[in-house]
Amino acid sequence: MFLRAVAVGAMLLVAAVAAGPALGPAGGQAPPMFRTPLNGEPPTLDPYFAVDSASAPIVFLMYNTLVSLDSTGRLLPQAARSWDISPNGLIYTFHLRDDMYFHGGRKVTAADWKWSFERMGSPALKSTVGSVVVAGIQGYDAYQNGAAGIAGITAPNPTTLQITLNPARRGGFLNRLAYYAAVVVDKDVVQRGGNGWFATQDAGSGPFVFKEWAHNDHLTLASFPRYYAGAPRIAGVSVPIVTESQTQLSEYLANQLDFIQVPLGDYKRIRADPTLGKQLLTYPRAQVLFLGLNPRVYTAFKDLRVRRAFAMAIDKAKISKTVFFGFFTPANSIVPPGIPGFYAGYKGLPYDPAGARKLLDEAGVSGKLPPLSIAMNPFSPVSQMMAEPVAAMLKQNLGVDVQLQKTEFSNFIANENKRTVYQSFMTGWSADYLDYSDYLDFLLYSTSPLNRQSYESADFDKLVDQANAAPNEAQRIAIYHKAEALAVTDAPMVPILFSQFAYLKKPYVQGLQTTPAVNGWLPFSGVRIVK
């Protein structure tokens, strides 16, 4: 009786489950979908807010910028067919394509760009993208204080967009325009859609169109047949949300995914594998991994000699070789290779334990320094992989006891922002857009919210201001190099390594282009699947 009841109950349950509505199709997709995962659910798909690692790649596939970058970091025309720059370097006239369409079917015009840039810089919206892209335009400050629009942006006719820059903040304007979030949006979609307009549609003109967003499960993008550069040669992009990197790897091995980022812990094994080794793609990433020193909490860091001693006691080459098998390279400077103007040949501070101990003696703190704790950014296991050898080196070379502090991301970022919690922190910074300002202005300028080291140097600030007002790129980079050298020797942070991307790509995927920025790839408009 009991057994029978159990069996019947179980069968009913199985039947109920099998009849369930959400069982859905068997995941059978048209063959030429390109399948690559996201690490997490995107918090938004509004391009002006999509600045995290989950939202950015999706936005990147659906929208267009005025100019873009190729695999080598060279500027290319995109929505702008060409541009002229006035002799004083302040007026940019963009000649727009007349064959670019929004996914809704309407042609993209110069007025759309003006509307988009004003939305991006809107004081009500407070988008950080706006503060990168349009803050250097004449009239931006007035717009923040209530003016009707940004006076420096005009659209004399549908294919001409003219932008006048503020002389004091003109630096790197084209590089900023190539920021993946500096895109044009279809105002009809944004205005009609209200809050959360991006949840069911996109407002872009890029190679792929929003099709479906099943939260915490997957996103599907279809290719856009009227894309100005020709319809992509894949049916679309299928983007499952797979939070575990090991699960991503297993799915790749089981041919359920075409392109994945390699978990660092598996890198060595994959490289040695005769089959997988051939599918491995590695290339430089515009990312610097560094130890931030916070003098507000660990007061000994107020003394330049102590900061410099810590920087000189860390053997970057050894960490690169022994922990990262040479895959990540020692960082002598702050701005990584891949950023235009990279300070090649700059030696930075040497690894010199004896010199470091001497500096501590001079500062009168030798043997008296309190234990230091290093908080590790939990976003990636890399922070811990770097913090462990650094702790050993500081103990061995300077006699400082180091504790490693582990926490979760939400807590880490909140404490970092407070600036009064962590004595030091191991973290990294990757490029949003390929420009010097993305590193030096953000990370070290005294009033920047991201200056979590609380670095205050009037000389450094002055150099950065000069760079931003420099009349041309060559002069600007020369000034930035001076600022960078100053920051390295002042040692508010210790740049330790420059990282690389490691991806696995199936041999039947062709035409994929990489970049040192963002997630490491350019929109898949040229990708083909040749089976």
Partner: protein
């Protein structure tokens, strides 16, 4: 019985209020903040203030709690803090059936297998079978699900590619996660079933039934199993709880968009509204399962009256 059920449902109201208050306070007191998590490295005090105001997080905690309760009373779970375009009810409505189906299947599988093994062990003539089952039970109880998951994925998805590694949608996607979720409940249902069947077999009424000449099978089904069922049913209730909790590992490993993954994301991102909703869902699930177990006692044992 109807009165008893009404009483139990009524008791659930303060339980929910308590759970809502606890999770609200715990969530807001925990270090970390949804605004800074969402904005990440693009956080500025100005951008943070705008978002904080939009989300209503700049109001005093009691005001936020009162507003939350008011919305809850109107069955409005609000929108996600991290993704303001997303209604929490939709998120839960999509994720919950997936987890329930997963847990339901795992419990069904565990019940059938566990009872069969338990009865088999209790009635086995040869002690070797009993010992084998006992060893299996210990192994099943000791193996953490992330280990069994890895082993099963390696064997059945990579070594012999019979099943998908992860994902959701096709019937084949159910097999491995359900198996992983069921392993530990199988073991403890088998253990309890063995013990209670073994005990019932020693009762006088069983000897009487046998002496009347009833066939062994009839004795087992009619007399032994019904009397041995109470502890087993309690265990099935526990197994359901176990499957729900086990989903926290299984949904992540197998990439299943269920309620446990929603909860984990909400915890990591301090997405308070979503977190509160998932805790309430779990409270409701456990209350319902407990009630069902208690009600089934009365059905199984006529001496129990409410």
């Amino acid at each position: 019985m109807a009165r008893y059920i009404a009483y139990r449902v009524g008791m659930a109201v303060p339980l929910f209020l308590g759970a809502a208050l606890l999770i609200f306070v715990a969530g807001h007191l925990a270090p970390g903040d949804p605004v800074q998590t969402v904005l990440g490295d693009h956080y500025t005090p100005a951008a943070g203030a705008v978002l904080r105001h939009q989300l209503g997080l700049d109001r005093p905690l009691p005001v936020q709690f009162a507003r939350y309760l008011g919305d809850l009373a109107r069955l409005n779970l609000g929108t996600s803090y991290v993704n303001p375009g997303l209604r929490v009810a939709d998120l839960v409505g999509h994720a919950l059936p997936i987890s329930l189906r997963l847990a339901g299947l795992a419990v069904a599988l565990a019940t059938v297998t566990g009872v069969l093994l338990g009865v088999g062990a209790a009635t086995a003539r040869r002690a070797i079978l009993d010992s084998l089952i006992q060893v299996g039970v210990v192994v099943g109880l000791s193996l953490p699900s992330f280990v069994t998951a890895a082993v099963l994925v390696y064997l059945f998805a990579l070594r012999w590619p019979l099943l998908p590694v992860a994902g959701w949608g096709a019937p084949a996607n159910y097999v491995l996660p359900v198996a992983v979720l069921a392993i530990s409940p199988v073991a403890f249902i088998a253990r309890i079933a063995r013990a209670s069947v073994g005990q019932a077999l020693l009762e006088d009424y069983v000897r009487t039934a046998r002496s009347k000449g009833l066939r062994a099978r009839r004795v087992l089904f009619r007399h032994v199993l019904r009397n041995a069922a109470l502890p087993v049913v309690t265990t099935i209730g526990l197994a359901f709880g176990n499957a729900i909790v086990g989903a926290f590992v299984v949904e992540v490993l197998f990439n299943i968009p269920g309620i446990a993954r929603v909860a984990i994301n909400a915890i990591l991102q301090r997405d308070y509204t979503v977190l509160q909703a998932t805790v309430l869902v779990y409270t409701a699930l456990f209350s319902i399962v407990n009630l069902m177990v208690d009600v089934s006692y009365a059905y199984l044992n006529p001496r129990i009256r409410y």
